[in-house]
Symmetry: C2
Subunit: 145 residues, 2 copies
DNA sequence: ATAAACCGGACTAATAGTGTACGGATTAAA
DNA sequence: TTTAATCCGTACACTATTAGTCCGGTTTAT
């Protein structure tokens, strides 16, 4: 199905909240309330995003998260790789594990999915987070749409 | 991970055998032997491919499979959709099920993955089966590389 | 009639993904 | 210095998807 997990979906929602209040720190709990996504899940998403430095985390009592960049500066590739791991169409395609391919003796395309892979990747590189955020009225914390 | 299942992988392998003997009918058993992929799985792949008319099936004693077109005429999109179903990046993205999105009240990107989706899809539309087949020496049935 | 070959669906086991919980580390403030 | 808020990391149970197989049915050349 070529689909990615829900985490990426959640990430967009969470990031849109963060983007609406750029510069402000927001806690995982706040973001969970705003989005309706369960807190532990929000925390998970944020963790992944901070690992790739898409969001910045501040620990301690007045801590929270904020975006490190404006949405234009975040490519969809980055986003997806943060949440789903490296973009690879097949398990063979990524050149990590080549050993357990028991049909290798005849496999005539070994590595050819890579072409597809790069095609997809460059399509994704051409898009950024702001392409994904709807031109929606900015939501404020605690407010209702 | 954005990855597709092994079936697509197998499909390429099987199709390359078929492509090497264009016009000739080959049975599922023969293809299984050539590729090293287990017979029932080959049958499954072939079934999927014939449903989308990428291969042609002939029933009965002297039956078998052959390609309906030359590899250039088979887009990667077609191929993937035959084996994995419609290309959709997220479950929301495809406009079938919009109801079970419990975070819909705030979901600000509803439908925006579609942009990503089309980007991927058009990247895939631009490639065809012959891009995936290595310029490998034509393999003959029963022969060894 | 028989046997070769595909058709369609259903079934089981394995794998991956989803969501949650828990103990630990860090830091502002009392 | 103690406390509480907050992020960090790992591990775990539950669920859904995928992989691979099997079986009974249909078609057709001999």
């Amino acid at each position: 199905m070529i689909k990615l997990s829900k985490l990426s979906d959640y990430a967009i929602v969470v990031l849109s909240c963060l983007a609406a209040e750029r510069g402000q720190l927001q806690t995982a709990v706040m973001l969970a309330q705003q989005t309706g996504i369960p807190e532990p899940t929000v925390a998970k998403v944020l963790k992944l995003l901070s690992k790739k430095e898409i969001v910045n985390s501040v620990r301690g009592v007045k801590g929270g998260y904020s975006m490190t960049r404006i949405p234009d500066q975040v490519t969809v590739t980055e986003l997806i790789e943060a949440l789903e791991g490296p973009i690879s169409i097949t398990s063979c395609a990524d050149s990590e594990i080549e050993s357990d391919c028991h049909i290798a003796q005849l496999c005539p395309m070994r590595g050819n999915w890579n072409k597809v892979n790069s095609a997809v990747k460059s399509a994704l590189d051409g898009m950024n987070l702001s392409d994904l955020l709807l031109p929606v009225s900015p939501q404020r914390k605690g407010g209702r749409a």
